[in-house]
Symmetry: C2
Subunit: 241 residues, 2 copies
DNA sequence: CGTAATCTTGACCAACGTCAATGTTCGTGG
DNA sequence: CCACGAACATTGACGTTGGTCAAGATTACG
């Protein structure tokens, strides 16, 4: 439940075209869907909560711009990042079906959200059955990515996990036009990487040092550089299309 | 691609009623859906492949009876079990949307599959939009379980992972009427548990010995006994409803 | 019976976590 | 412009968890 500045005005014009493009790159097929449910925008600053795990609230958003985290906090206090949420990604679907979701989401950068009306999802699926195909397809693709992350944590070593994660992020950003060439900005620190790949902060450092010394990847000052995608992919078992 | 005995006859009468009940317990809302796509039955023996990762084939099944494994094999040869597939579960959805799936599936016990016509999925969603809601709900629920497994591998120790997995299996079996009281049969050996929770075979043994000596769980001769679900749940962080 | 899996155990080793100390960066207020 | 503190980055020493290897015990099955 974002306690933030609701707004009905679209984002500023000057940067809108670039952003629009980035957003549409992914959501092309779902955009009609989203438009029909859209209620307003919300602008959030970095580090704000979006939804809380197990809260009995139905809320549905699509990220328009910015990065967010989807994570769980365990009894022990440890945090597992389930996914990085990028423009075009949905937030809150489980809460529409089950009244709450098992994950929390918080912003990592300033984020603009589209606020959707959860109660419209069901009628929309009924009225516009053609859209449900694209929607389902998106959910299935997400499941495949979840499978990948599971195999990663279960069966790969530290450096390989990180290498894989970085490549996946690179590709997701490229699909949105947010990453070109060898390097680009990622708003990630060590703690985040650690909680995403299931390692300690310190060990992430060691693994990244190993990657850097082999010339495979470098993440310094929030700038990711991958000199050779081929090499890093080979090293970490990442499939190249 | 099961090279197996196709059959148009329904499963034998003598045990059918018990099986039907078990199956319907879960798939109640999806059963109309399945019925409309169903083409035939296939009976497979234990250990047979159902679908192969990255094979360019669209195939769609629902498990009617028996256990199967959904897994990935990594470059190193290591295997990560993504999920245990139980009666009522779908197999092959990604292949319908993307032409192939990233996971393989093979049977663990003798299995009866319903063979569905993949090409009917899209028109069915269009013609019977009411069904897509239940279907989507099932996919979202699966995603939540995937999130749980990820947090498990990323942030819990060996005994807790195993305890959690056993409780989850118990609950899934109970929902299908396949597990009652304190103990029940699971067709699992150590190697399977190990590949499911991301540990070595030997270490699974150690962790299970720890669980047994604390009186939390025992899996001997393929019979699982959980003296106190409360205790094991508390130990492994499993949420009780 | 005999062969092959699987289970079990112990000894040892590698990967990863924890802790603590020392930079370094960066924002804040004087 | 500087001083200060907070948060994050980096490193080393050391402890723990889990992996590997090998051998013997047990079971399954022909």
């Amino acid at each position: 439940m974002p306690h933030a500045h609701p707004s009905n005005s679209p984002p500023h014009r000057d940067v809108a075209s670039r952003r629009e493009r980035a957003f549409r790159a992914l959501a092309a097929e779902e955009s009609k869907f989203v438009a029909a449910m859209k209620r307003s925008h919300i602008a959030l600053r970095a580090g704000e909560p979006v939804i809380e795990a197990n809260a009995h609230i139905s809320a549905l958003y699509v990220v328009y711009e910015g990065w967010a985290l989807r994570y769980r906090t365990l009894r022990s206090g440890a945090r597992q990042i389930l996914d990085f949420v990028l423009p075009g990604d949905w937030v809150g679907l489980p809460s529409v079906f089950f009244g709450s979701s098992g994950y929390s989401v918080r912003t990592l950068t300033p984020v603009t959200l589209w606020v959707l009306d959860p109660s419209r999802l069901r009628p929309l699926l009924r009225e516009q059955p053609g859209l449900s195909w694209a929607f389902l397809k998106g959910r299935i693709a997400e499941q495949e990515r979840a499978d990948t992350r599971l195999a990663l944590l279960g069966r790969l070593g530290a450096s390989e996990r990180i290498g894989y994660l970085l490549l996946e992020l690179r590709d997701r950003l490229r699909a949105r036009g947010l990453f070109r060439g060898q390097s680009g900005a990622l708003p990630l620190d060590r703690a985040l990487l650690a909680d995403a790949v299931g390692l300690s902060r310190v060990h992430v450092l060691r693994a990244m040092r190993a990657l850097r010394s082999r010339g495979l990847a470098d993440l310094t000052d929030r700038i990711l550089t991958i000199p050779s995608v081929r090499n890093l992919a080979r090293f970490s078992g990442y499939p190249l299309k």
